[in-house]
């Protein structure tokens, strides 16, 4: 049986919250869809850090399983997002999320 060395879980949760807020700032602020996708990855990783922190805090492996599932979903999201970016680039559409309003009703 091993105890948790170093900082308490709340420190990890603070880092996770800051990461999530940083990613949200990037998603809202940036106009390049590639950087929006990168910021989305930061948000997902902030969530993953909180999941793994709580998993360690409660001594339950379910949080790590959830984090691995989130990782798979993030990989899928990157595949679809980058496919869309490449398709838009082939159609010579400006890569600017403020101008991608063709589907607006």
């Amino acid at each position: 049986m091993t105890a948790l060395l170093g900082p308490e879980i709340s420190w990890y949760l603070a880092v996770s919250g800051f990461l999530f807020a940083t990613g949200a700032l990037g998603v809202l602020l940036r106009r390049n869809p590639l950087i929006v996708l990168l910021s989305l990855e930061i948000m997902l990783n902030g969530g993953n850090l909180a999941l793994i922190g709580f998993s360690r805090n409660l001594g339950d492996g379910g949080g790590q399983i959830f984090a691995l599932a989130v990782m798979a979903v993030a990989a899928s999201e990157v595949v679809v997002g980058l496919g869309l970016v490449v398709a838009l680039n082939r159609k010579r559409v400006t890569l600017d999320v403020d101008r991608l309003n063709t589907l607006r009703g």
Partner: protein, 185 residues
Amino acid sequence: MLIASAGNVLVWIVWIVAAFACLGSGIAVVSFSNPFYSALALIGNLGSLAVLYLLLNAEFVAAAQVLVYAGAVMVMFLFVIAYIGPRTESPWMGGPSWQAAGAVLAAGALLVEIVVVIGLKASGHLAHSEHVDRTFGTPAYIGRLFLTDHLLAFEITSIVLLVAAIGGVILGAHSRRSPEEVPSL
């Protein structure tokens, strides 16, 4: 006791370095104007997160993080950025606009919300962490959980990955076809 406290100090030092690298590279991803540099900063972010996962006894997740994220996903990102060409865009272009101010306000509100909710709901048991076995977080432990208690999550994950792979192929193949290749009726 002395050895235990020396280990504690060492873990604190590693934690501080990893956490600051993590937050710094996260801010760098958001503020670099060139998406290539942003992607490189995100690789640093993912690496320092893997160190934090190791400190939390999540060895398998840390290894998967480095292999899947920093390896596969980021290589795909760098390929796409190289393919469509680096397009620089300054995040603070044209002075303070209402959009940038709204973004900063919304992100700050999210941060406050996270801190308040975790502080109110979870602060009671955060100070004391459970003692765990030495096997906690090892590949054998994760594999046993995946194939017993969480089998449904495992299978759904495989379907999600399959659907994403098919979607990627369709998105990539559809736009390659030029109009003249379409057989006319």
